[in-house]
Symmetry: C2
Subunit: 240 residues, 2 copies
């Protein structure tokens, strides 16, 4: 079985409600430091608050770009990502341009992702050494398996770090089959972040077993608490 | 009763699904020209497509900024609005910073809206004479009456043109009481756009009677068709 800390370090503790207050964001940061989560994921407005609270800790600041619909011009995504990185974000979850996917304009899909990933990687080089991690959200509830495969290949080609399954605001959350499909499409070197409706240790374990190596959830604390009471159910092999 | 054309000119024909294709956007533009709607409202990525299709017609290009969550830094909203205006949008529906509202940081709420409205108004002056119309979305399903009143006053103070009730992606759609409350808060000079779950001529009529002078809906064609079959139910007095 993997350790509590290894589980916690797979969790992105996410607070993406639009009506979350500054106090809510600070509470999530404090929980993330206590549980040693990978990151706190906040809406872009809150990056500065999260960065101040998390400074010096082992918890990263994550945010979401063009969230949750993905349908802004590329230069707006790039600008938003730059601002977020300047404000302290080092994990950038960007929503693919779903309208372009559905219009079969994969050239536009690729240019869009390439620019956001490139600006993020360059920003990481010029800042204080923190690598910027990029995740491409493909919203499995709105895309076919074939579309998902194509976006996975594009994301890998432009050197994004992760594929992320859902925004949490789409028509449905993540299923085990989604993760299996994506893991197959991207191979073993790329990250797969399962997100969307994950509330229990059983769900998290099943998704990790299916190939996810990051879990996005607003209930990370409850999941880790439940882990403490169910040790032994999760096997070592799933750890990458 | 008011005329079919007067009803149509109160309707923002809105296609804000993230998976809408270029063909869907073009179809909405063509319907809007046929029915003489006030505008077509598209996600920012589609402004250029809509502008090309609607050029020379009596239908404006509208879009949504920081949609649907509102929680990006002010400079990102300003940049996104500028890009949208450059791409041809003349109606800018911006989501208020709900997190700042809920954190009681009304100074931030005001600065945020003031900058977006100002950049839009200035852009209107430098372009080919088209006035830019700004609408502040307050998401009634996430705000209390008191918070709505405060945002209404701020939006009026910074010279926004409309208050808009909902994104259509919040916890609920618009109710007659919302429009009554907002109309009371802003007085008679400011616009009130009812949006969110409006699908029938009965709903549209009730909201107009309550004080709305713009209706945002994805089913404008069905509403106008239904009007044709129900003339007489809507009285002249509701026209402003």
């Amino acid at each position: 079985m993997f350790s509590r800390i290894a589980l916690a370090k797979m969790i992105d503790h996410s607070i993406l409600r639009p009506d979350a207050t500054e106090d809510d964001v600070i509470r999530y940061c404090d929980e993330a430091m206590e549980y040693h989560f990978a990151s706190v994921v906040v809406l872009p407005y809150w990056c500065q608050v999260a960065e101040r609270r998390l400074r010096g800790s082992d918890v990263k600041v994550g945010t979401v770009i063009a969230y949750p619909l993905g349908a802004v011009p590329t230069q707006v995504k790039v600008y938003e990502a730059r601002q977020a990185i300047n404000a302290g974000a080092t994990e950038i979850d960007v929503v693919v341009n779903l309208g372009a996917v559905k219009s079969h304009d994969y050239a536009a899909v690729q240019r869009d992702l390439e620019e956001v990933v490139t600006v993020s990687n360059l920003a990481g080089l010029t800042e204080d050494g923190d690598d910027i991690s990029t995740k491409v959200i493909i919203e499995v509830g709105l895309t076919t398996r074939e579309e998902q495969t194509r976006v996975c290949r594009i994301a890998k080609a432009v050197r994004a770090d992760f594929i992320k399954t859902c925004t949490g605001r789409g028509p449905r959350g993540v299923a085990v089959q989604d993760v299996k499909h994506i893991r197959q499409a991207v191979g073993r070197e790329m990250g797969v972040k399962a997100a969307g409706g994950i509330r229990t240790i059983e769900q998290a374990t099943a998704l990790i077993n299916a190939g996810a190596n990051r879990i996005g959830t607003s209930t990370g604390t409850a999941i880790v608490e439940a882990y403490d009471q169910s040790q032994g159910a999760v096997t070592e092999e799933v750890l990458r």
